[in-house]
C-alpha cells in the first residue's frame, strides 16, 4: 500500500466531508454516510487530477469507494495499468 496516496486521499476526504464522523483509512465511507453525491464527484476529480488516472465504468462501484484503503488500491492499480 502506497502510504503517500492513502494519506493524501485521507486528507482530502477529511477536509471535504460535511459529516462529523472521524475518518480513518478503514472507515466505511458508505455505511457512515460520509460519501454523498457531491463528495463522490469531488473525490473522482481529485484522484484523476492528482494521479493522472482515468476512472471509468465499474471503477464507480461501492467496492472501490467503501474505504480510503480500497480507493488507494484502485488508484495504484489504474496507475500501473495506465502507465504501462
Amino acid at each position: 500500500m502506497n502510504s503517500r496516496i492513502d494519506q493524501e486521499l485521507l486528507g482530502f476526504v477529511q477536509s471535504n466531508s460535511v459529516t462529523a464522523t472521524t475518518v480513518t483509512i478503514q472507515t466505511d465511507l458508505i455505511e457512515q454516510e460520509v460519501l454523498d453525491s457531491l463528495l463522490l464527484m469531488e473525490l473522482v476529480l481529485f484522484v484523476e487530477q492528482q494521479w493522472g488516472v482515468q476512472l471509468i465504468g465499474n471503477d464507480f462501484s461501492p467496492s472501490h469507494f467503501r474505504t480510503v484503503e480500497q480507493l488507494t488500491q484502485l488508484v495504484e492499480t489504474r496507475r500501473l495499468q495506465q502507465s504501462a
Partner: protein, 533 residues
C-alpha cells in the same frame, strides 16, 4: 404482502406561536374557483381510473393506485380531525423520497391544506427559518423522528397498512388557490417560498406530458428529492398521469443507477446535469443496454452540449430531452426534443405548450430575434408569487409575465439559447441560489471576518470558492469549513477556501469578483487539498 409505513402528524403550534387562523396568505386568501379542478379532483379521478395498476414500487413491493388513494384519504381524515388544522393550513412534509411522502402530499391536497416540503436532511437554523417564515402549523414526518421531539402536543401516529377499502371518492373539501410552497433562493440571497396554485401544478403537469413520451405505462426512477422543484414535478407528472414511481435506495454510484434502471424495468430517468455527468463516466464509450428505457430528460441546470449529444447517442434508440425551467414556473418552461440534440444541444428548445416567451431589453421592450435580452415567461404554470414578499413580486411579476433573470436570445432556428444570468444566481445540483446567502450566513456567525463567495467552472461543473479576509490575526480555515458544513445545505458548501489579506478592487472601487473567480479557477482542486492538509 406486509407494508409497514408509519407516519406522524406533529403540531408546531408552539414553535410558530401564532394565533390560529392567521395563516391566510398576505395577498388575501382566495377560495379556488368552484368549477376549476384542483389537484384533489385530478388525483381522485386518476386513482379511480388506474385503481389496480401500480402507482409506486419500492423494496417492499408494488403499491396500487387504490392503495395510494385509500392511504391518502386515511391520512387526510387525520389531518382534518386535528385541532390545529383548518382549510388552507400549511402542512410541512419532512420525509425522504418514499411512498409515505407521496401519500402525505396528496393527503394534504385532499384535506384542503397547503403542502410545504421541508428537506429532511437539513437541520438547524435553516429549518427553523423555513418553519417560521411559512407559518407551518403541522408537520408530517417519519414516526421515529417525531418521537424524539420534545413538543409532543397533539402528536398523532398513523400507520399505513396493506388493507385497501373499496375506492369511493370522498366529497372534495373547499380549497384555496394555494396548493404548495416550495423553497428556493431569491437574488438577494434570502430563502424564499414559491407559492404554487392548483392551476400552476396541473398546467405544468399537462404541458410536460405533451412534450415527453409520458403515459400510464411509464416507470420512472424517483431519485430527485421531492422537496426540490424538479423532484416535485416528477412526482406530479407521473402520479397525475397514472404512471409508476420507482424508489430505489443506494443510488449514490452511477453503476447502481444503471443497474436499478435495468432491474426495475424503468422506462425513464429525469435528473439534474450532475447525475448525467456521472452516468456518462460510468458508461464510458459503451452504449446503454436497456430493453425498457424510452427516454431520459435533463433539467435543473445546463449539461455541456457535447455531453448531451454524447448521451443522446449512447442511449439511442431511447430519446434524450433537454429541459429548462425554474421553481417560479412550477418546474419546467422549455424543451429541446431528441431529434434536435445533435445540432442544437446548446439551446433549450421551445417553450412547452401553454408557455410563452418574450425577450426584453432593460426598458422592458421586446428585442428583435437574435438579440440578447432578459427572458420573460408567461403561462398558467407561473407562480402566484413569493410568500410574504410583495416587493420582490412587484419586481419580477408583471401582467402575468415572470422575469426569469436569465439572459437569452432566440436563434434563427426558433430555439432559445440561455446566455447567462443577470442576478448573480448560481445553480448547483438543480438548486438555484445566490452566493451572498453563504456570505451572510458566515458573517452572522463570525463578525470578525469578511466573506465573499464566487462561483467558478472546473471540468464542466460549477463550483464555489470562499474567500475570507480576517479582521483579526487568528483565523482557522477549518473552523470556517465546519461552520459551512453545519449551517449550509450541502449544495452550498464551497469546495475551495482561501484567505486574503486585502480584497482586489475593480475600477468602480468594489470587490472584484471576476478577479476572485479567476484566482479560484487557477487554484482549483490542488490548492484546495494543500490548504486543508
Amino acid at each position: 404482502m406486509k407494508h409497514d409505513y408509519a407516519l406522524s402528524i406533529r403540531s408546531l403550534a408552539q414553535a410558530t406561536a401564532t394565533a390560529r387562523g392567521d395563516q391566510k396568505p398576505w395577498y388575501g386568501w382566495q377560495p379556488q374557483p368552484p368549477n376549476e379542478p384542483t389537484i384533489a379532483h385530478r388525483f381522485t379521478a386518476i386513482c379511480q381510473q388506474h385503481a389496480g395498476r401500480p402507482s409506486m414500487q419500492d423494496r417492499r413491493g408494488e403499491l396500487s393506485y387504490q392503495w395510494l388513494y385509500c392511504q391518502a384519504n386515511h391520512l387526510a381524515q387525520h389531518l382534518i380531525d386535528h385541532p390545529d388544522f383548518e382549510t388552507g393550513s400549511h402542512v410541512g412534509l419532512c420525509l425522504p423520497n418514499s411512498p409515505e411522502y407521496v401519500v402525505a402530499f396528496f393527503a394534504v391536497q385532499l384535506a384542503g391544506g397547503v403542502a410545504v416540503p421541508i428537506p429532511p436532511y437539513q437541520q438547524g437554523k435553516r429549518r427553523r427559518q423555513q418553519i417560521a417564515m411559512t407559518n407551518l402549523k403541522l408537520m408530517i414526518e417519519d414516526e421515529r423522528i417525531s418521537a424524539d421531539q420534545k413538543t409532543t402536543r397533539d402528536n398523532r401516529s398513523i400507520r399505513l397498512n396493506a388493507t385497501t377499502a373499496p375506492l369511493e371518492s370522498q366529497p372534495v373539501r373547499p380549497m384555496g388557490h394555494l396548493a404548495a410552497l416550495l423553497f428556493t433562493s431569491g437574488s438577494s440571497g434570502d430563502p424564499k417560498a414559491v407559492m404554487l396554485s392548483h392551476r400552476n401544478i396541473l398546467a405544468n403537469t399537462q404541458s410536460i406530458s405533451q412534450v415527453l413520451p409520458l403515459g400510464s405505462t411509464d416507470r420512472t426512477l424517483a431519485n430527485m428529492p421531492f422537496a426540490h422543484a424538479l423532484g416535485n414535478s416528477v412526482l406530479q407528472t407521473h402520479i397525475l398521469n397514472g404512471a409508476t414511481l420507482v424508489f430505489s435506495s443506494d443510488l449514490l454510484f452511477p453503476t447502481a443507477l444503471l443497474n436499478a434502471l435495468e432491474t426495475q424495468n424503468c422506462t425513464s430517468l429525469i435528473a439534474v446535469p450532475e447525475v448525467f455527468d456521472f452516468l456518462l463516466r460510468a458508461l464510458g464509450t459503451d452504449c446503454l443496454q436497456s430493453s425498457c428505457l424510452r427516454y431520459m430528460a435533463v433539467a435543473g441546470g445546463r449539461l455541456e452540449p457535447t455531453r448531451a449529444a454524447q448521451l443522446a447517442d449512447q442511449i439511442a434508440p431511447a430519446e434524450f430531452f433537454i429541459m429548462y425551467g425554474q421553481t417560479e414556473a412550477t418546474a419546467r418552461l422549455a424543451c429541446l426534443p431528441s431529434n434536435q440534440i445533435e445540432r442544437q444541444a446548446d439551446t433549450i428548445g421551445h417553450p412547452i405548450p401553454g408557455v410563452e416567451f418574450c425577450i426584453r431589453d432593460p426598458q422592458g421592450v421586446p428585442v428583435q430575434d437574435g438579440e440578447v435580452g432578459t427572458l420573460h415567461a408567461r403561462g398558467d404554470n407561473i407562480m402566484l408569487g413569493y410568500w410574504d414578499d410583495p416587493e420582490t413580486n412587484r419586481l419580477i411579476l408583471n401582467d402575468g409575465w415572470l422575469n426569469t433573470g436569465d439572459r437569452a436570445r432566440k436563434n434563427p432556428s426558433g430555439n432559445y439559447k440561455i446566455c447567462g444570468r443577470e442576478n448573480g444566481l448560481v445553480k448547483i445540483q438543480g438548486y438555484r441560489f445566490h452566493p451572498n446567502e453563504i456570505d451572510n450566513t458566515l458573517q452572522a456567525l463570525m463578525p470578525d471576518a469578511e466573506f465573499v463567495t464566487v462561483p467558478y467552472r472546473d471540468q464542466g461543473q460549477t463550483r464555489l470558492a470562499l474567500f475570507v479576509r480576517p479582521c483579526q490575526e487568528s483565523l482557522d480555515v477549518s473552523q470556517i469549513r465546519q461552520a459551512c458544513s453545519r449551517e449550509l445545505p450541502r449544495h452550498m458548501v464551497p469546495q475551495l477556501y482561501q484567505v486574503v489579506s486585502q480584497w482586489p478592487v475593480n475600477s468602480a472601487h468594489k470587490i472584484d469578483r471576476q478577479e476572485l473567480a479567476v484566482r479560484a479557477s487557477q487554484a482549483g482542486l490542488q490548492s484546495n487539498y494543500n490548504r486543508s492538509a
